[in-house]
Subunit: 150 residues, 2 copies
Protein backbone atom coordinates (compact mmCIF):
# COMPACT_ATOMS: atom_id res chain seq x y z
CA UNK A 1 0.00 0.00 0.00
CA UNK A 2 2.66 2.54 -0.86
CA UNK A 3 2.83 5.00 -3.70
CA UNK A 4 -0.58 6.60 -3.22
CA UNK A 5 -0.94 10.25 -2.36
CA UNK A 6 -4.28 11.47 -0.98
CA UNK A 7 -4.82 15.20 -1.57
CA UNK A 8 -7.66 17.72 -2.13
CA UNK A 9 -9.32 17.39 -5.54
CA UNK A 10 -8.85 20.16 -8.10
CA UNK A 11 -10.63 20.99 -11.37
CA UNK A 12 -7.88 19.09 -13.23
CA UNK A 13 -9.03 15.88 -11.49
CA UNK A 14 -12.64 16.18 -12.67
CA UNK A 15 -12.40 14.08 -15.86
CA UNK A 16 -10.90 11.19 -13.86
CA UNK A 17 -13.33 11.62 -10.95
CA UNK A 18 -16.41 11.71 -13.18
CA UNK A 19 -15.17 8.71 -15.17
CA UNK A 20 -14.94 6.78 -11.88
CA UNK A 21 -18.39 7.96 -10.76
CA UNK A 22 -19.82 6.74 -14.09
CA UNK A 23 -17.92 3.41 -14.12
CA UNK A 24 -20.35 1.77 -11.73
CA UNK A 25 -23.63 -0.17 -12.11
CA UNK A 26 -25.59 2.65 -10.44
CA UNK A 27 -23.46 5.59 -11.56
CA UNK A 28 -23.65 4.65 -15.25
CA UNK A 29 -27.28 5.81 -15.29
CA UNK A 30 -26.73 8.97 -13.29
CA UNK A 31 -23.58 10.68 -14.53
CA UNK A 32 -22.59 12.69 -17.65
CA UNK A 33 -18.82 12.35 -18.29
CA UNK A 34 -19.25 14.18 -21.62
CA UNK A 35 -20.47 17.34 -19.87
CA UNK A 36 -18.26 18.39 -16.97
CA UNK A 37 -19.85 21.82 -16.43
CA UNK A 38 -22.19 20.80 -13.58
CA UNK A 39 -19.30 19.03 -11.83
CA UNK A 40 -17.11 22.15 -12.11
CA UNK A 41 -19.83 24.29 -10.53
CA UNK A 42 -20.25 21.76 -7.72
CA UNK A 43 -16.50 21.50 -7.08
CA UNK A 44 -16.21 25.30 -6.79
CA UNK A 45 -18.89 25.23 -4.13
CA UNK A 46 -17.26 22.30 -2.30
CA UNK A 47 -13.81 23.88 -2.27
CA UNK A 48 -15.24 27.10 -0.77
CA UNK A 49 -16.85 25.23 2.16
CA UNK A 50 -14.51 24.51 5.10
CA UNK A 51 -16.68 21.54 6.15
CA UNK A 52 -16.25 19.81 2.80
CA UNK A 53 -13.24 17.68 1.87
CA UNK A 54 -13.25 16.14 -1.59
CA UNK A 55 -10.02 14.22 -2.03
CA UNK A 56 -8.39 12.11 -4.68
CA UNK A 57 -5.86 9.29 -4.46
CA UNK A 58 -3.08 9.65 -7.01
CA UNK A 59 -0.47 7.08 -8.04
CA UNK A 60 2.18 7.68 -10.71
CA UNK A 61 0.37 10.89 -11.72
CA UNK A 62 -2.98 9.09 -12.27
CA UNK A 63 -6.11 9.99 -10.27
CA UNK A 64 -7.36 6.54 -9.25
CA UNK A 65 -9.60 7.09 -6.22
CA UNK A 66 -11.90 9.67 -4.66
CA UNK A 67 -14.25 10.33 -1.79
CA UNK A 68 -16.14 13.22 -0.21
CA UNK A 69 -16.02 13.83 3.55
CA UNK A 70 -18.54 16.26 5.05
CA UNK A 71 -18.17 17.51 8.64
CA UNK A 72 -21.60 18.01 10.23
CA UNK A 73 -21.91 19.68 13.63
CA UNK A 74 -25.08 18.80 15.52
CA UNK A 75 -27.01 19.04 18.79
CA UNK A 76 -27.77 15.39 19.48
CA UNK A 77 -25.34 13.15 21.41
CA UNK A 78 -24.27 16.09 23.62
CA UNK A 79 -23.53 18.41 20.73
CA UNK A 80 -21.53 15.84 18.78
CA UNK A 81 -19.95 16.56 15.44
CA UNK A 82 -20.22 13.72 12.94
CA UNK A 83 -18.76 13.20 9.51
CA UNK A 84 -20.42 11.72 6.45
CA UNK A 85 -18.57 9.83 3.72
CA UNK A 86 -20.04 9.97 0.20
CA UNK A 87 -18.97 9.21 -3.33
CA UNK A 88 -16.28 6.61 -2.60
CA UNK A 89 -14.82 5.35 -5.87
CA UNK A 90 -11.71 3.37 -6.84
CA UNK A 91 -10.57 3.03 -10.45
CA UNK A 92 -11.25 -0.41 -11.94
CA UNK A 93 -7.50 -1.02 -12.40
CA UNK A 94 -6.90 -0.51 -8.69
CA UNK A 95 -9.69 -2.63 -7.21
CA UNK A 96 -8.34 -5.20 -4.79
CA UNK A 97 -5.21 -3.09 -4.22
CA UNK A 98 -6.28 -1.92 -0.76
CA UNK A 99 -6.87 1.62 -2.00
CA UNK A 100 -10.51 1.59 -0.80
CA UNK A 101 -9.28 0.77 2.71
CA UNK A 102 -6.65 3.51 2.48
CA UNK A 103 -9.30 6.07 1.47
CA UNK A 104 -11.67 5.13 4.30
CA UNK A 105 -8.80 5.11 6.81
CA UNK A 106 -7.87 8.60 5.59
CA UNK A 107 -11.49 9.73 6.11
CA UNK A 108 -11.64 8.25 9.63
CA UNK A 109 -8.33 9.87 10.60
CA UNK A 110 -9.37 13.24 9.16
CA UNK A 111 -12.69 12.95 11.05
CA UNK A 112 -10.79 12.46 14.30
CA UNK A 113 -8.60 15.45 13.48
CA UNK A 114 -11.74 17.54 12.92
CA UNK A 115 -13.11 16.53 16.35
CA UNK A 116 -15.85 14.21 15.08
CA UNK A 117 -17.27 11.59 17.46
CA UNK A 118 -18.99 9.55 14.75
CA UNK A 119 -18.39 8.69 11.07
CA UNK A 120 -21.36 7.61 9.00
CA UNK A 121 -22.21 6.65 5.47
CA UNK A 122 -25.00 4.99 3.55
CA UNK A 123 -24.58 2.31 0.94
CA UNK A 124 -27.17 1.19 -1.59
CA UNK A 125 -28.83 -2.02 -0.40
CA UNK A 126 -27.68 -3.76 -3.61
CA UNK A 127 -23.95 -3.14 -2.90
CA UNK A 128 -23.40 -6.31 -0.87
CA UNK A 129 -19.61 -6.36 -1.36
CA UNK A 130 -19.39 -2.77 -0.12
CA UNK A 131 -21.35 -3.72 3.01
CA UNK A 132 -18.83 -6.47 3.87
CA UNK A 133 -16.00 -4.00 3.20
CA UNK A 134 -17.40 -1.40 5.63
CA UNK A 135 -18.12 -4.02 8.29
CA UNK A 136 -14.52 -5.25 8.08
CA UNK A 137 -13.42 -1.66 8.74
CA UNK A 138 -15.50 -1.54 11.92
CA UNK A 139 -18.65 0.19 10.67
CA UNK A 140 -21.95 -1.13 12.07
CA UNK A 141 -24.98 -1.43 9.77
CA UNK A 142 -27.23 -0.10 12.54
CA UNK A 143 -29.49 2.13 10.43
CA UNK A 144 -31.81 2.19 7.44
CA UNK A 145 -31.06 4.88 4.86
CA UNK A 146 -34.08 6.62 3.32
CA UNK A 147 -34.00 8.80 0.22
CA UNK A 148 -36.54 11.05 -1.46
CA UNK A 149 -35.84 12.30 -4.98
CA UNK A 150 -37.00 15.89 -5.55
CA UNK B 1 -52.44 21.31 11.66
CA UNK B 2 -52.65 25.00 12.49
CA UNK B 3 -51.07 26.95 15.29
CA UNK B 4 -47.48 25.74 14.77
CA UNK B 5 -44.71 28.12 13.82
CA UNK B 6 -41.47 26.65 12.42
CA UNK B 7 -38.50 28.98 12.90
CA UNK B 8 -34.69 28.85 13.42
CA UNK B 9 -33.68 27.57 16.86
CA UNK B 10 -32.07 29.99 19.32
CA UNK B 11 -30.18 29.44 22.58
CA UNK B 12 -33.44 30.03 24.48
CA UNK B 13 -34.86 26.87 22.84
CA UNK B 14 -32.03 24.63 24.06
CA UNK B 15 -33.60 23.40 27.31
CA UNK B 16 -36.70 22.27 25.38
CA UNK B 17 -34.68 20.81 22.49
CA UNK B 18 -32.37 18.83 24.76
CA UNK B 19 -35.32 17.58 26.84
CA UNK B 20 -36.86 16.24 23.58
CA UNK B 21 -33.56 14.66 22.49
CA UNK B 22 -33.32 12.92 25.88
CA UNK B 23 -37.00 11.81 26.01
CA UNK B 24 -36.40 8.88 23.69
CA UNK B 25 -35.36 5.22 24.19
CA UNK B 26 -32.02 5.84 22.45
CA UNK B 27 -31.51 9.48 23.45
CA UNK B 28 -31.99 8.78 27.18
CA UNK B 29 -28.55 7.12 27.24
CA UNK B 30 -26.81 9.73 25.10
CA UNK B 31 -27.89 13.19 26.25
CA UNK B 32 -27.17 15.41 29.29
CA UNK B 33 -30.13 17.78 29.89
CA UNK B 34 -28.51 18.92 33.18
CA UNK B 35 -25.47 20.31 31.34
CA UNK B 36 -26.38 22.49 28.36
CA UNK B 37 -22.85 23.86 27.75
CA UNK B 38 -21.91 21.40 24.95
CA UNK B 39 -25.24 22.07 23.21
CA UNK B 40 -24.68 25.86 23.37
CA UNK B 41 -21.25 25.46 21.75
CA UNK B 42 -22.72 23.25 19.03
CA UNK B 43 -25.64 25.63 18.36
CA UNK B 44 -23.23 28.57 17.95
CA UNK B 45 -21.37 26.59 15.31
CA UNK B 46 -24.58 25.52 13.56
CA UNK B 47 -26.00 29.06 13.43
CA UNK B 48 -22.76 30.35 11.86
CA UNK B 49 -22.93 27.77 9.01
CA UNK B 50 -25.15 28.79 6.06
CA UNK B 51 -25.64 25.10 5.12
CA UNK B 52 -27.10 24.24 8.53
CA UNK B 53 -30.72 24.82 9.48
CA UNK B 54 -31.75 23.82 13.00
CA UNK B 55 -35.40 24.68 13.45
CA UNK B 56 -38.00 24.37 16.15
CA UNK B 57 -41.78 24.08 15.99
CA UNK B 58 -43.52 26.34 18.49
CA UNK B 59 -47.15 26.33 19.58
CA UNK B 60 -48.62 28.67 22.20
CA UNK B 61 -45.09 29.77 23.13
CA UNK B 62 -43.90 26.17 23.76
CA UNK B 63 -41.04 24.60 21.77
CA UNK B 64 -42.54 21.21 20.89
CA UNK B 65 -40.58 19.96 17.87
CA UNK B 66 -37.16 20.18 16.26
CA UNK B 67 -35.03 18.95 13.39
CA UNK B 68 -31.69 19.69 11.74
CA UNK B 69 -31.42 20.08 7.97
CA UNK B 70 -27.92 20.05 6.41
CA UNK B 71 -27.37 21.09 2.79
CA UNK B 72 -24.57 19.01 1.22
CA UNK B 73 -23.23 19.91 -2.24
CA UNK B 74 -21.56 17.02 -4.06
CA UNK B 75 -20.05 15.76 -7.30
CA UNK B 76 -22.03 12.56 -7.84
CA UNK B 77 -25.36 12.55 -9.73
CA UNK B 78 -24.13 15.35 -12.04
CA UNK B 79 -23.03 17.65 -9.25
CA UNK B 80 -26.23 17.23 -7.25
CA UNK B 81 -26.83 18.95 -3.96
CA UNK B 82 -28.56 16.80 -1.39
CA UNK B 83 -29.94 17.54 2.06
CA UNK B 84 -29.71 15.42 5.18
CA UNK B 85 -32.32 15.42 7.94
CA UNK B 86 -31.11 14.62 11.47
CA UNK B 87 -32.38 14.92 15.02
CA UNK B 88 -36.13 14.89 14.34
CA UNK B 89 -38.01 15.09 17.64
CA UNK B 90 -41.60 15.84 18.62
CA UNK B 91 -42.61 16.51 22.22
CA UNK B 92 -44.47 13.59 23.85
CA UNK B 93 -47.63 15.74 24.27
CA UNK B 94 -47.73 16.42 20.52
CA UNK B 95 -47.19 12.91 19.15
CA UNK B 96 -49.97 11.91 16.81
CA UNK B 97 -50.80 15.56 16.14
CA UNK B 98 -49.27 15.56 12.66
CA UNK B 99 -46.37 17.75 13.79
CA UNK B 100 -43.79 15.18 12.64
CA UNK B 101 -45.27 15.32 9.15
CA UNK B 102 -45.29 19.12 9.24
CA UNK B 103 -41.59 19.18 10.20
CA UNK B 104 -40.57 16.77 7.42
CA UNK B 105 -42.70 18.66 4.90
CA UNK B 106 -40.93 21.86 5.97
CA UNK B 107 -37.54 20.15 5.47
CA UNK B 108 -38.50 18.87 2.01
CA UNK B 109 -39.80 22.29 0.96
CA UNK B 110 -36.69 24.05 2.28
CA UNK B 111 -34.51 21.49 0.45
CA UNK B 112 -36.27 22.36 -2.82
CA UNK B 113 -35.80 26.06 -2.09
CA UNK B 114 -32.07 25.41 -1.57
CA UNK B 115 -31.83 23.63 -4.95
CA UNK B 116 -31.42 20.09 -3.58
CA UNK B 117 -32.23 17.14 -5.84
CA UNK B 118 -32.36 14.56 -3.06
CA UNK B 119 -33.34 14.48 0.62
CA UNK B 120 -31.91 11.72 2.76
CA UNK B 121 -31.91 10.54 6.34
CA UNK B 122 -31.00 7.49 8.35
CA UNK B 123 -33.13 5.92 11.04
CA UNK B 124 -31.99 3.41 13.65
CA UNK B 125 -33.02 -0.10 12.58
CA UNK B 126 -35.01 -0.46 15.83
CA UNK B 127 -37.29 2.52 15.06
CA UNK B 128 -39.91 0.55 13.12
CA UNK B 129 -42.67 3.15 13.57
CA UNK B 130 -40.36 5.87 12.19
CA UNK B 131 -39.66 3.73 9.12
CA UNK B 132 -43.38 3.46 8.35
CA UNK B 133 -43.71 7.21 8.89
CA UNK B 134 -40.94 8.05 6.38
CA UNK B 135 -42.26 5.57 3.81
CA UNK B 136 -45.73 7.17 4.04
CA UNK B 137 -44.05 10.51 3.24
CA UNK B 138 -42.50 9.05 0.08
CA UNK B 139 -39.01 8.17 1.32
CA UNK B 140 -37.55 4.90 0.02
CA UNK B 141 -35.52 2.65 2.35
CA UNK B 142 -33.03 1.97 -0.42
CA UNK B 143 -29.82 2.10 1.64
CA UNK B 144 -28.08 0.64 4.66
CA UNK B 145 -26.73 3.18 7.12
CA UNK B 146 -23.31 2.42 8.64
CA UNK B 147 -21.82 4.15 11.68
CA UNK B 148 -18.41 4.06 13.31
CA UNK B 149 -17.98 5.57 16.78
CA UNK B 150 -14.68 7.38 17.26
Amino acid sequence: MSGFEIRPATAADLPAIVAMLADDPLGARRESPADLAPYRTALDRLVADPNQHVVVAVRDGRTVGTLQLTVVPGLSRRGSTRSIIEGVRVHGDERGSGLGTLLIEWAVEESRRQGCQLVQLTSDATRVDAHRFYERLGFEPSHLGFKLQL
